[in-house]
């Protein structure tokens, strides 16, 4: 761990990794709290797995059809937005069973991704990095779009916080109060999808859902206000991300996996503390 902090001053890629992890943690803290409160973790899982289709398609277009300007993460971003809009529309007001739609998108997206990868000529060396993250390969250009995405997510969340809270609490009553709740449902889906894109850069498709939900779930054990839960989740997420990165650096472990393992430990500790506090209060 000490080596990590010593090397931090010498290696810019480590600074990039810390910045990327912190940026993703802030977005995940805000959006993830809403996802946890709304019990829609499955939505985040479907979006993240579907991103393989975007990553694979972009790489296929790059290698076979000369779309040099389209990066894999650019493809992921486009697919994330498209999937968010599709899911918001399909699941609106019980039009279709949400779990069925999400399962179809989850598996269908993943299957498409695998096919695109198979069709792409050459060795797909970075497929594993999409699946499990490649924090140490974050570039300065990556950081720029991550800052832009983060700013967008934070701004929308601050401006629409009251409406998001009201819709999550009771959609029907909010609609009867004259609010176009469909707009906020769509925005919620979009924010979740964009946050997942950020997290995929840090922890990969398979582990992104953990960083979205675990810090938020841990924060939910410690506070009973959504705004405080969001801030606490962002802080916990940033903490476990930097700590995970530092811990994994020495023994050369995959940073994404170490971060998620730490997040699980933090969640278990928070749950144990909440349980202890509840018992203590009952005896008092």
């Amino acid at each position: 761990m000490l080596t990590f902090f010593q090397d931090l001053a010498d290696y810019p890629f480590l600074v990039n990794a810390v910045a990327a992890a912190a940026l993703a943690a802030v977005a995940a803290g805000l959006t993830g709290s809403l996802v946890v409160v709304r019990r829609s973790t499955y939505l985040a899982g479907a979006v993240s797995h579907c991103l393989l289709a975007g990553l694979g398609l972009a790489r296929l277009l790059q290698r076979r059809f000369g779309f040099g300007w389209l990066s894999p993460m650019g493809g992921a971003l486009l697919v994330a937005v498209a999937v968010a809009l599709l899911l918001a529309r399909l699941t609106a007001r019980g039009r279709h069973r949400p779990d069925t739609v999400l399962s179809a998108v989850w598996t269908g997206g993943m299957a498409l991704g695998v096919s695109f990868v198979a069709l792409t000529p050459g060795f797909q060396e970075d497929l594993m990095s999409y699946l499990f993250g490649s924090l140490l390969l974050v570039t300065r250009a990556d950081l720029l779009w991550m800052v832009a995405l983060n700013t967008l997510i934070i701004t929308v969340m601050i401006l629409c916080y009251n409406r998001f809270l009201a819709v999550a609490f009771n959609e029907e009553l909010t609609r009867l109060r004259g609010v176009n709740t469909a707009v906020y449902e769509t925005l919620y889906h979009l924010l979740t999808a964009l946050t997942v894109v950020l997290l995929v850069r840090v922890a990969g498709i398979v582990l992104a859902i953990a960083l979205l939900t675990l810090p938020a779930a841990a924060a939910g054990q410690l506070t009973r206000r959504l705004d405080r839960m969001m801030l606490l989740a962002a802080a916990l997420g940033a903490g476990v991300s930097v700590a995970g990165l530092a811990l994994s650096y020495g023994p050369n472990l995959p940073p994404g996996a170490t971060i998620v393992e730490l997040a699980v430990i933090v969640y278990l500790l928070a749950a144990a503390y909440a349980r202890w506090r509840a018992r203590h209060a009952a005896h008092a």
Binding site: A166, F169, T174
Partner: protein
């Protein structure tokens, strides 16, 4: 627009409504004066909740007209506060009482950002339901009765002049239920209250009118029963409904076969007897 003070809070005229081919309400007409406390009673499936939906503008009648403060329900929505029977929510949902009350004002600005006036309105609403100091508390820690008060405060904070309460005392112990009814009566100094209830005995002790709904509907003023014998036997709040000859419809089959009185608002179901009435 007509002045609000001269118009009935609710005016339902010759309303028929059906889900598909099954008619739920037929030739329903009644008026509710402002600041009344009306109990809507009737059997399950008789159309009580449908009636609330019509008043909220969530459903449109097939025939007839519904007016709330002289306006179509959709236009009057800002002045109508609906409190559902049970609020489906996560027992761990992280929200304070003040935030829940403020949600009553969320439709009033473009993005739902709350102003000082919104916060003042929420504080006043909490005072009116006698939960002045509950603002910072967690909504999930409250009892069932307290939660109902908070939801009523939400409706009041939104500027509702008509409260629609669906089974407001369901799952609440009798002592807290009695306090809620006292609160409803106090609220009628300023607003009109309509409450759906299964418990005729308790409701009629507090309401000014009873609306009996069983596919058809009849409004009854409440006359106090002077007899000390009844009061002694059933308690101080005992009242009786003044029945007209055609008051309680135990079997609505015959009534449902009658032709529509009102004009058509939407396409009527094919199996219903044709009325030949003009469209609105």
């Amino acid at each position: 627009m007509k002045p609000v003070t001269d118009t009935p809070a609710v005016e339902v005229r010759d309303v028929c409504f059906s889900y598909g081919t099954q008619e739920v309400l037929h030739n329903v007409s009644f008026q509710i004066a402002p600041r009344s406390l009306v109990a809507i009673v009737g059997p399950n499936g008789g159309g009580k909740t449908t009636l609330l939906k019509l008043l909220l503008g969530a459903e449109t009648p097939r025939f007839g007209t519904v007016r709330v403060f002289g306006l179509a329900p959709a236009e009057a929505r800002a002045r109508v506060g609906y409190v559902p029977q049970a609020i489906p929510f996560d027992p761990r949902f992280p929200v304070s009482v003040r935030e829940v009350v403020l949600m009553g004002r969320t439709g009033k600005s473009r993005l739902g950002l709350y102003s000082r006036a919104d916060r003042d309105a929420a504080a006043r609403a909490l005072e009116r339901v006698r939960l002045d100091h509950f603002g910072p508390r967690s909504f999930t820690e409250l009892s069932g009765g307290e939660r109902q008060r908070v939801m009523i405060a939400q409706a009041l904070a939104g500027g509702s002049a008509l409260l629609l309460l669906d089974e407001p005392v369901a799952n609440i112990d009798p002592q807290h239920a009695s306090r809620l009814y006292d609160l409803f009566r106090d609220l009628t100094e300023e607003v009109t209250v309509l409450m759906v209830s299964h418990n005729l005995g308790v409701v009629t002790g507090h309401a000014t009118h009873v609306l009996c709904v069983n596919h058809t509907a009849g409004m009854h003023a409440l006359g106090e029963v002077a007899s000390e014998t009844f009061t002694a036997a059933f308690g101080a709040h005992l009242t009786a409904i003044r029945h007209d000859a055609d008051c309680h419809v135990l079997d609505p089959t015959a009534a449902l076969k009658a032709p529509h009185h009102g004009c058509a608002c939407a396409d009527p179901p094919h199996t219903h007897p044709p009325s030949g009435t003009p469209r609105c």
